[in-house]
Symmetry: C2
C-alpha cells in the first residue's frame, strides 16, 4: 500500500463538473463502492445503434497478477453477466492484440463505462428543491477484452462468486468442468479513469426558509436511512442440508448490521467527508 492514496487522473470525460466538493478520485474510495455494489451498470456504444447499450452485470475489482493487492492499488475490473452476448461479441472482435502500455495508441478493447451506485438515505428538506439523497456513486472508464487464459478465468470466477457470498466458492462443486469453463465468458476491463461522488449528512435549506418559523413548525425535515437488507434464507426444492451454514448465516447477519449502520451513520457525517471502508 503506497503512503499516499492513489488518485485517478482527471480527463474531460471523467471530471465531476457539479458539486465538486462531493467528488473523489481516490482509487480506494472508488474501488470500495464498485466492489460492494451487487449490480453494476455497464454501458458501451454498439455500431449501427442510435442508442448506447446499458447492461446490468456482476463485477469485481481484482488483480490476477497480484491477488493480494488491496483496494487502493491499480486493479482490473472483472465482469460477468447473463445478458452479455452482444458485448462479448464486440469484445471478441477487439481482442486480437494484447495491450501494450508503452504504446501511444489507444488501448485495445471495447470502450466501456461502468457505474456503481448505492442509495443511503432520503434527505427531506423544507422545499422540494433542497431534497436530496445520501448516496455513494462511482464511475469507471476502461477497455474490455475477453479473458482467454483458463487460470485467469478461474481467478475471476472465484473472485465474483465470493463477492456474492464470501466463501461460497469453496462450498460448491469444484472445479468447473470443461463445458462450464467454455460457456462462461469473463471480461477484463483495464481502467483508464474513474471518479466517485459521495453525499452524507442531513438536509440543507436556504436562509429565507430557515427563518420562516411557521414553515419550520409545519414541515418535518431529516433523513430516512436506506440500505439493502437480506431476509431469512429459503431452501430450494432439492436442498438436503437442513441447517443454513454458518459462513452464509453469519455473514448475512453481519452484512445486514453493517449496511444499516452505514446508512444511519451517514446522516451524522459531514458532506464531502471520505467514505468509510
Amino acid at each position: 500500500m503506497p503512503l499516499r492514496e492513489l488518485q485517478y487522473p482527471t480527463e474531460p470525460y471523467s471530471k465531476v463538473n457539479r458539486l465538486k466538493d462531493r467528488a473523489d478520485y481516490g482509487l480506494e474510495t472508488i474501488h470500495q463502492i464498485v466492489n460492494s455494489c451487487p449490480m453494476l451498470h455497464v454501458s458501451f456504444q454498439p455500431p449501427n445503434s442510435p442508442f448506447p447499450a446499458v447492461l446490468p452485470m456482476i463485477g469485481q475489482m481484482g488483480s490476477f497478477d497480484r491477488p493480494s493487492a488491496d483496494l487502493g492499488e491499480v486493479l482490473d475490473l472483472y465482469l460477468h453477466g447473463y445478458v452479455s452476448s452482444r458485448i462479448m461479441n464486440l469484445t471478441r472482435n477487439n481482442n486480437n492484440k494484447p495491450q501494450d502500455s508503452s504504446s501511444p495508441s489507444p488501448p485495445e478493447g471495447l470502450p466501456l463505462t461502468v457505474a456503481a451506485t448505492h442509495v443511503d438515505g432520503l434527505v427531506l428538506a423544507l422545499t422540494p428543491n433542497s431534497h436530496s439523497y445520501n448516496y455513494r456513486s462511482a464511475v469507471l472508464f476502461g477497455h474490455a477484452t475477453l479473458v482467454t487464459d483458463p487460470a485467469e478465468k478461474l481467478y475471476a470466477m472465484e473472485l465474483i462468486t465470493n463477492s456474492v457470498v464470501p466463501q461460497r466458492w469453496p462450498n460448491t462443486r469444484l472445479p468447473p468442468n470443461a463445458a462450464e469453463m467454455q460457456s462462461t465468458s469473463i471480461l477484463r476491463v483495464r481502467i483508464s479513469n474513474g471518479s466517485a461522488k459521495v453525499r452524507t449528512g442531513g438536509p440543507h435549506d436556504e436562509r429565507g426558509d430557515l427563518e420562516d418559523e411557521a414553515l419550520l413548525e409545519r414541515v418535518w425535515t431529516g433523513v430516512v436511512p436506506v440500505y439493502s437488507a437480506m431476509g431469512e434464507p429459503v431452501a430450494g426444492g432439492y436442498n438436503k442440508v437442513t441447517e443454513v451454514p454458518e459462513y452464509l448465516e453469519g455473514w448475512r447477519k453481519e452484512a445486514n448490521k453493517d449496511a444499516e449502520e452505514y446508512a444511519r451513520e451517514a446522516v451524522d457525517k459531514e458532506v464531502g467527508k471520505k467514505v468509510a471502508a
Copy 2:
C-alpha cells in the same frame, strides 16, 4: 386502459437476445420497474468522448397531457439529477424544434438509454456457474429534451418529489420560487422502445450434479431474499416537528413490508412469470 397490454416494438438494439423466456416488452411491467427504482442509470454518447457517459439520476414515468394515465399506457420519462450539467447542455443544443410525430425524420433530442434494476435475491446453486440473482431489470430508449413550459416543469417536479415519499410535495414549502424554477432542469424523454427482464424462483442445476448425492448433502442450495429497507427517520438539525408525520411513517412501514414480501414471494414464483404490480 386498453383491453390487451401494450407492448413496445422490438428493434435490434432493444431485443433481449439471451434467456428470452425472461424477456417482457409490456409497457406496464417496464414502467412499473422504472417507477419503483430509487435511482436510474442514464447513458448517452457525448461528442468527442471515447466513452459513453453514465449518470445516476432520479426519474419517473408520467403524462403531462393526461396525468391520470396509468402505468400500462404510453408515458414520458421525466428526469432530474444533480450531476446533469453536461447532459442538460447537450439537450439544450438539440432542443430547437418541437417533436413532430408525423415526420419520418428521427425524433428531436439527445438519444438516451435508461436502465432500472432491482436485485431481489441471491440464488445459490450447487455449482458456481448455476448461481444467479432474482432481479427485475428494465431498459428504455428515447430522446431527451429540456422541459421549458413552467406548468409541465411543475408537474414533473411534483411527480418526482412524490416518488421519493408519497405526499411529500404538498407537505413542503410551495410553490417553488422564481430562482428555484430557474435552477431546476427537467428532461422529458420520449420513449421509442423498451424491454424488461425478470428472474424469479429457486436455483436450477444440471442433471449430473442433481444426481450426486454426496454433493447434495454437502452444499446448501436456495435463495437469500434481498430488498431495500428504510430505517427509523432521523430528524435534521433544524427540525421542529417533534413527531414523524403519518404520511411518512405509515408509508415507510408499508413500503418496507411490501419490499420484504416481494423478495420472499419471488422465490416461490415460476421463472418467466409476470411481475406483480
